[in-house]
């Protein structure tokens, strides 16, 4: 666990970057620092591994004040990922990943074996191991950066806007990859971003910081969306909070109706167990489009979206293979939405 105890960072010119910040980043969870530029999020992150030392207050790593630990020693036990990956251009990918094991004095073979294992783990082709960083795409470099941070298996991982410099499609896949990795590794992660959607997607807890380095709100994403502490947080969260909040509600409890039921205004037509479209009860007009979700895997937001895409107003529940398992009627969805709003 990382604990900030009333941490202040004041520079010589009087600028206050971080102002009496107190919070905890629990073990095994992702804590996101989010806020506009000048909110001190990166400064706060860098005080954890002593790239910057606080002016006042303390930062504890599992109860130990980090300023009592020799910086290089401390840093070798904390993974670090930055925006442009920061790979060493003169070292091959495998040696980049093995950086911290080398620093810790592992023998070369062991360090390289570990590096190869990690390249595989972050989803990189092992053929890239012998290349140099400039031969890799931005997304690949960023994966190498994550592998390098994990090489010595540190319990703590600091990530400073790691996915900001890549295009949106790559960013989404890197985010998904991080969520997958974290479910396997359960590291204590502090993640800095200016992108509130990224914060909501990745964070177990989100700390919203305001300019001047003050904590505006610390909450889990669901609470943040439903109960922003003040206007600043509300503005920062942006529009559609209600819809976005639905992604934190599951679809396990949704009542599924029989897809073969023809009593309503709309009937689901199927072919070979898969949906082909919605038909009007009187059989007039063409088949209308349908939307699907996978109960249990997808969120209420996805289910609602599936229902909104069709005039039938119902969502088609399918299994992982796309076979119809049921239909969620508008009334069922409305009840679920009301329940979510209540929570």
């Amino acid at each position: 666990m990382i604990t900030f105890e009333s941490v202040t960072k004041r520079y010589a010119d009087g600028t206050v970057a971080v102002d009496r910040l107190s919070l905890e980043a629990p073990t095994g969870e992702i804590t996101v620092f989010v806020g506009p530029s000048g909110c001190g999020k990166t400064t706060s992150l860098r005080m954890i591994n002593r790239m910057i030392d606080p002016t006042e207050g303390r930062i504890l790593l599992d109860g130990t004040d980090v300023t009592t630990i020799d910086p290089p020693q401390l840093r070798r036990g904390i993974g670090y990922v930055i925006q442009q990956a920061g790979l060493f251009p003169h070292r091959k990918i495998v040696d980049n990943v093995a950086t911290v094991p080398y620093l810790l004095g592992w023998d070369r073979k062991k360090a390289r074996d570990r590096a190869m294992e990690l390249l595989e783990r972050v989803g990189l082709d092992l053929k890239l191991a012998g290349r140099y960083p400039f031969q890799l795409s931005g997304g690949q470099q960023q994966r190498v950066g994550v592998a390098r941070a994990l090489a010595a298996d540190p319990p703590v991982l600091l990530m400073d806007e790691p996915f900001s410099a890549v295009d949106p499609i790559v960013r989404t896949s890197l985010q998904d990859e991080l969520i997958r990795l974290q479910s396997e590794l359960q590291k204590t992660i502090v993640f800095v971003t200016h992108d509130i959607d990224e914060a909501i997607k990745l964070g177990d807890r989100v700390a919203v910081l305001r300019v001047g380095g003050r904590l505006a709100q610390l909450a889990d994403p669901k609470t943040l969306l439903s109960e922003p502490a003040d206007d600043f947080v509300r503005d920062f969260l942006g529009r559609d909070r209600g819809i976005r909040r639905l992604q934190f509600f599951g679809t396990d409890g949704l009542e599924l109706s029989d897809p073969a039921d023809t009593s309503g205004a709309w009937t689901l037509r199927m072919a070979d167990g898969r949906p082909s479209g919605w038909a009007r009860a009187d059989g007039s007009g063409p088949l209308e489009p349908y939307g699907t979700f996978v109960p249990g895997r997808d969120s209420l937001r996805t289910a609602l979206d599936a229902a909104l895409l069709t005039p039938a107003g119902a969502a088609v529940a399918v299994d992982g293979d796309g076979r119809v398992v049921g239909v969620v009627r508008r009334e069922t969805l409305e009840a679920a939405l009301a329940e979510a709003a209540d929570e």
């Binding site: 790239m51 290089p72 401390l74 990956a85 060493f88 251009p89 003169h90 620093l103």
Partner: protein, 224 residues
Amino acid sequence: MDEEPLFRWSWVASNWDNDTPNSIVNLLGAHIVMAGLPILLGLLVALPLGLACVRWRWLYQPVAGLMNAIYALPSLALFMILLSVTGAERTTVIIPLTFYAVAVLIPAVVDGLGSVPDHVRQSAVAMGYTPLRRLLGVELPIAVPVVLAGLRVVAVSSISLVSVGALIGQGGLGNFFTDAYQRDFYTPAIAGIVLIVLLALVADGLILLAQRLLTPWVRARRST
């Protein structure tokens, strides 16, 4: 009277290695020593000075100014000044050329270290490098291409400048120029020029080769 040819090959044959101090082989050797030592010494001096200029930024402007002033001094004048101290020895040529080498290489070292991207330096810090290990393991290797580019300039200019030493009798292959002038016989001068140019090309090629071997990642970068 026979027309004197522009280049008399028999001179080359009889002067190639005739056990006199002014044989082609001996002067070539002297030339390599007088040009080579300043290159090596220059690198040895410029490296710590360049590092100091990076570490203490305020140092760089005065040092660079001083070095430029030295570089502006005519080599012949320096030879003459040193002549009274070190005599008509190789040292009299080697010292000024070393100064020139240092003057070119300090900015090369400073620029080389400046070419290390900030995010690379930051990530080295964050990985837990100690300052010395970071310098040796990350910053200097990344500075190598820029330093070697400076070294190529130094190598070629040193090899060329040695010949000015001929005016105090220590010009390496440059001694052939004064010889040719005094005797109104151009074969030694042509031989000297050709050998100096060849020497410069070989030195340049060797440094280029060293660069290829030391920094494969630069070539890798170009090929993408």
